[in-house]
Symmetry: C2
């Protein structure tokens, strides 16, 4: 096998299989077999199974840093919240594995959780909460709204839509063609709840 292909291929196959069945549901035998490489290559490149898993997780959660671009200073809080919705949907579309690692780590945390996962999630929620708080101080949102509760509500709505897919695909279309409508539905539900009522 060509030089750099081996490492990349292991990472790619590992990502898919770990996403499908979790860290303990997959053997490195299976990963190396499917990647067309020898099992010893996993120790060579990643120092073992947990090392490969950590590398996969690091790559998966790298995109969370984009939240800083979503939140451009001076922008309308409401526009940024809409941007968060679109960004999150796009993340799930570009990478269907992400949510698997996200929820798998939240419910059955591994050794990587505190180092990789918790900071990434915490950062996003914190920024969303700051946005809500900002809008509240500007008088755009109701004073009774708790910023962190609202942030979790927004994140919960959009993430749960994808999380529940396997149990709800006969109830609603999960096709990307419906994404724009999804944004409008969720943004309407969320904002008409927190925007200050007209006097």
């Amino acid at each position: 096998m060509a030089k750099a292909d081996c490492r990349d291929k292991l990472l790619e196959v590992g990502t898919r299989l770990f996403a499908e069945r979790g860290l303990y549901g997959v053997s490195i035998r299976e990963i190396s077999l499917e990647a067309g490489a020898s099992i010893s290559m996993i120790s060579y490149y990643f120092g073992g199974k947990e090392g490969l898993y950590a590398a996969v997780l690091t790559a998966q959660f790298a995109c969370f840093d984009q939240i800083d671009e979503i939140r451009r200073p001076g922008a309308e809080p409401l526009a940024v919240l809409e941007g968060y919705l679109r960004w999150t949907i796009q993340r799930h579309r570009n990478n269907p594995s992400l949510l698997r690692f996200y929820t798998s780590e939240l419910t059955n945390p591994t050794a990587c959780f505190n180092r990789i996962v918790a900071p990434a999630i915490g950062k996003v929620i914190r920024i969303l909460a700051e946005l809500v708080d900002e809008g509240r101080r500007q008088g755009l949102f109701r004073q009774e709204v708790q910023p962190v509760s609202a942030a979790l509500a927004l994140a919960g709505m959009v993430n749960y839509f994808f999380l529940s897919l396997l149990a709800t695909q006969d109830l609603i279309s999960h096709s990307p063609a419906q994404d724009e409508q999804l944004v409008r539905q969720y943004l309407a539900i969320f904002t008409r709840g927190i925007v200050a009522a007209p006097v």
Copy 2:
């Protein structure tokens, strides 16, 4: 060990360990050891590891049938939706393991998913969607609201609050003492979004 204690103890310990680390993250050796029983008792009572896991899952999802009591016919849709929020929070409080199995099965489904998990979740979402649809036909909710989207939004908000606990406990109190406030926050966000605007 006394007669019925053995089976019950295995189920109890299995529930805790499977919730913490998933089906493949625990060995039946470990379960039997912690339960103070012999490893062969798991085959004797449950037909093996997967049988024990199936028994655990069946017990965990049995409470989902209570949704029929929440939805009393003739009741105000809004009051029932509030009842759903309280019921869901109480479920998580009474049994912190439930959400682990819930999301673990949604992201890394086992052989039990189609038989036990998907019907339970699907039923709750379907009933919530019917409630929203009912309220919409009564003119209580906005016509543009899609019932299933709204149902997923409500379920997503409350479930994600508990799902995200490990990554957000430094941002917001997850104490049961705050549950009443949580209900008010989420109900306000949700209903002020879907209730028809006063003319």
